[in-house]
């Protein structure tokens, strides 16, 4: 069965600094998608960034980028120039679309941004 592991329950970063959140997954599929979702306090969860497994190039969205290592089954999120608004729970998620619509989520990492 596929699993997603986020080994860092909580992390802190100084404002304007860079932080990396880790995510590993286990799968025997070759075609899949990986996502990072952000859940701000008392607000709804939104997509931060996604990666298609067949693409070797790492996805980037403004200050957010991923380090996708397919062989190592690792999918880390790098946040550059951290801002107070980045404080949130971050969830890594996996999807094998040929099999199901169902995401598999990690347990989340709470990111605190220090002023």
């Amino acid at each position: 069965a596929q699993t997603v592991t986020q080994s860092q329950p909580e992390m802190s970063v100084q404002e304007a600094e860079t932080v990396t959140l880790s995510c590993t997954y286990d799968t025997s599929e070759s075609d899949y998608y990986l996502f990072w979702y952000k859940q701000p306090p008392s607000r709804q969860m939104i997509l931060v960034i996604r990666q298609e497994a067949y693409k070797q190039q790492n996805a980037t969205e403004n200050r957010f980028s991923v380090n996708f290592q397919k062989a190592a089954k690792s999918f880390s999120l790098k946040i550059s120039d951290s801002q107070l608004g980045d404080a949130a729970m971050y969830f890594c998620a996996y999807l094998a679309p040929r099999r199901t619509y169902k995401y598999i989520f990690g347990t989340g990492t709470r990111l605190k941004v220090l002023a």
Binding site: Q6, Y33, M45, L47, R50, Y101, Y103, F105, T107, G108
Partner: protein, 114 residues
């Protein structure tokens, strides 16, 4: 913008009550999902629906049922609420034809069962 609306942000119920959690999306999405979010456990899928009147069990369906009579509305039902169902419940929806496979979430309902 996609809007997924959950009818209540906070709900307090008594043990044994029948509880309805409602979710409405305005983007004509085929897929709708109910998740339960607990600290240290992440999001766990309770049920999902890929069409009107169609449903499929997720990872933790015990104690829950769902109803989807209209495409835009997906209801989660706790037939007889128990204290171990105290949790945050998240609804999500997605478009079946979306090659990006993005899910859109509601703001959540925090349910307390006393």
């Amino acid at each position: 913008d996609v809007k997924v609306t959950q009818s209540s942000r906070y709900l307090v119920k008594r043990t044994g009550e029948k509880v309805f959690l409602e979710c409405v999306q305005d983007m004509d999405h085929e897929n709708m999902f109910w998740y339960r979010q607990d600290p240290g456990l992440g999001l766990r899928l309770i049920y999902f629906s890929y069409d009107v009147k169609m449903k499929e069990k997720g990872d933790i369906p015990e104690g829950y049922s769902v109803s989807r009579e209209k495409k835009e509305r997906f209801s989660l039902i706790l037939e007889s609420a128990s204290t171990n169902q105290t949790s945050m419940y998240l609804c999500a929806s997605s478009w079946a034809g979306d090659s990006k496979n993005i899910q859109y979430f509601g703001a959540g309902t925090r349910l307390s069962v006393l």
